[in-house]
Amino acid sequence: MIELYAAIGAKPLFLWTDLLIWLLVAVIVLGVSYTRKRPHLLEPWHRVARSRLAMGSLVVLLVYVVIGLLDSIHYRPALKSTEANAEVHYAVEARTVLDWLVGDLGEQSEKSYSAPLATHLYSRESIETEAGTVRDYPRLQHGGAHLEDPAQQRGDLTTSLFVGGLQGVLVWLAIALIVAMWLRNRQGRSPLQWVVSKIRGQSDEGDVLPWHTILWVTCVVALLMMMAIQVGVKYHILGTDKVGQDVFYQAVKSIRTGLVIGTLTTLIMLPFAILLGIMAGYFRGWIDDAIQYTYTTLNSIPGVLLIAAAILMIQVYIDNNAALFETTEERADLRLLFLCIILGVTSWTGLCRLLRGETLKLREMDYITAAHAFGVSHLRIITRHILPNVMHVVLISIVLDFSGLVLAEAVLSYVGVGVDPTMYSWGNMINGARLEMAREPVVWWTLLASFLFMFVMVLAANLFSDVVREAFDPRLQSRGERS
């Protein structure tokens, strides 16, 4: 293995959150293949799939997820050694596949602040010229450095945007044609004809997905992404921050942190909430009392304070055992994992209470009594008869919790008990930039970047979760039919 790593020039780094994220992907894939064969489970998902709103936001969410997944494969590049045959050392700072894809974007740092798409620094500095020292705005080392004259910037930007737009359309068309070829229900049209008809808004009989919306949203996303890539290699799209790091890069890297907190927290707390909630409702008696006591006690501790206390503790542990961690990423990752766990501890109580109530109702149903009469064991009743009938509660709470957790991360990082300060996250970006609005002249782009990236993701998640809730919640459906 060691030779293999040396040959590639990289050594994989397995972080806890990476493993859990991929485990989650595996669970979702299994869940999808399980659901596909069962029409009664598929039915509510069909309702979600027919919704234009849900599918549009799903496309946006998927883009975030793909970026986050690419950012969840870490490796440590080999350091170039001057001597031949020397032992290969690996960098202390890990990189991800995403870093590799975007190339040097993360390392192209300037001296200090520069505005979006700027070619010059945001503040004056003393520059040595032939005529002596003048105070002026110096040129950036990377942003627009290929231009001989900054006045050409406008034309250069237009060209880049045009090229990027063209690439975007091509990429989108390629994706659309691949999807069309793979599709069976084309009504005898060629893939190209199918794409054109969908773009025009025709819907065929038997179509479940709102292809019109999906194609248009994909088109916009592809255009934006290719334009960002074209412009991003030459300029700092969203400027640079105080230490001169590209803000756009930071915002993109923060996607993984947001996704990890939004999903892993739920994944970690789910088993406890389900097990304890169903047990409390099913067995009642002293088990119910004990479980209720546990969640009331945990609930009565103010969430932020519990998180703060736990994070301060883990930080003391990390600082005292610095030798355990080879890379800064591993250290930051342990704190992130711990944050997910402690967020889970503070948020499982809500779901647990819901499940308890739901189980209390279910256990009085006739079919459960019948199962008892047949001598079916408790374990079997719970797994076969109760669990499947409370899954909609679980699913709704997963999708509803996601956006709240992403927003909570920003607040916690502001308080100083969120993710590690070295980790890219929207909360850390806001925290670092909160005094910049008071500067003269105002530095607004870091806040704008974190706002935009966070807002789009949370909005898409909220819209999607609304549709999912409507499709799965039996109460909402009965109301819809009546009014």
Partner: protein, 325 residues
């Protein structure tokens, strides 16, 4: 009634003991007094004597759970757990790391916290209910659709941006109110306006949606159909019958958070430099002053339990069908 309240207070006691055990575990077992001393005195160049001194000053040099050297009940009561817990239960919070009395600080800082939290809560509640009622009144129209879209958008913006944006626009660009600070007495008004307004606006998104669901649920009930069948106008049905019945879930939901208003809002207070309990907590977290954090955890738990008790009582007050048992 009295009997019931007494029994509920007795129920609350084990919960407080549980909270106390959890915080004790976090603050004294996971993070031993030795660690605390080293952190307070600086990681390096600290002699074992200095650590011992620091612990002795605070009485942290006792054994954690069990004292072998003592006799009789002393094996339990001479321990850190027992002494620290009894202090908390007597609301004696001790002194902070900078030597100030925590109990006195908390009493002083309660006022500014309430000056922000109470208006935010009341105005927020009324705004949310009004908008939710209007949305239900205009249901199945474009007005409602745009309302729904707006609330989702408002909900998707982080609370931090409301504060940063509000401070920038109102405080810096328009110079209407000071950006941050506080003053006691009537002068507090100009410092309180902006935090309250921002607090109300940032709560609209989720609040209106929540109340709208409550109202819609009520709209599906039989008495609404009866009222319509009697020939009442839609407005009268909504504002008279539905609003009154929806008050039950609304009131009981509001009562829970009532005591917690004392705790203040962490973020708002620290952004606006208001010397309340929220900013007190944040300062303590940043300074890693565990005595204050422990006191605030205990206080929060007590207030939460009072909230639960009030909720149960308010059920019986607004809904005569519910009996205390």
């Amino acid at each position: 009634m009295l009997n019931y309240i007494l029994r509920r207070i007795l129920y609350a006691f084990p919960i407080l003991v549980g909270v106390n055990l959890i915080t004790f575990f976090l603050f004294f077992v996971v993070n031993t007094p030795d660690d605390m001393a080293r952190m307070q005195l600086g990681m390096k160049h600290v002699t074992p004597e200095a650590v011992e001194n620091w612990k002795q000053e605070r009485g942290y040099d006792r054994p954690l759970f069990w004292d072998d050297t003592a006799s009789g009940v002393g094996v339990v009561s001479e321990t850190l757990l027992f002494i620290e817990s009894t202090k908390l239960f007597r609301f004696d919070f001790g002194v902070a790391d900078d030597g100030r009395d925590i109990g006195k600080d908390i009493r002083e800082r309660m006022g500014p916290s309430l000056a922000i939290a109470v208006p935010t809560f009341i105005i927020g509640l009324m705004t949310n209910i009004t908008f939710a009622l209007l949305m239900v009144f205009f249901r199945a129209s474009y007005l409602e659709l745009s309302g729904v879209v707006l609330t989702v958008v408002l909900m998707s913006i982080s609370g931090l941006f409301y504060i940063i944006g509000g401070q920038f626009v109102v405080g810096k660009l328009m110079h209407l109110v000071p950006i941050s600070g506080y003053e006691s007495g009537l002068g507090a008004f100009r410092f309180v306006v902006l935090p309250v307004a921002i607090g109300v606006i940032s709560g609209i998104g989720s609040g209106v949606r929540w109340y709208r669901t409550i109202f819609l649920e009520e709209m599906g009930k039989d008495y609404v159909r009866t009222a319509r069948a009697k020939g009442l106008s839609e407005g009268r049905v909504l504002f008279h019958h539905v609003l009154r019945n929806a008050m039950i879930p609304i009131l009981t939901g509001a009562v829970v958070v009532l005591p917690l208003l004392f705790m203040g809002s962490l973020i708002t207070e620290s952004f606006f430099g208001i010397p309340g309990l929220g900013s007190y907590t944040i300062e303590a977290i940043n300074a890693q002053d565990f005595a204050i954090v422990r006191a605030m955890v205990f206080l929060g738990a007590v207030l939460y339990i009072i909230g639960l008790l009030l909720t149960d009582l308010s059920y019986t007050l607004v809904d005569p069908r519910v009996r205390l048992s």
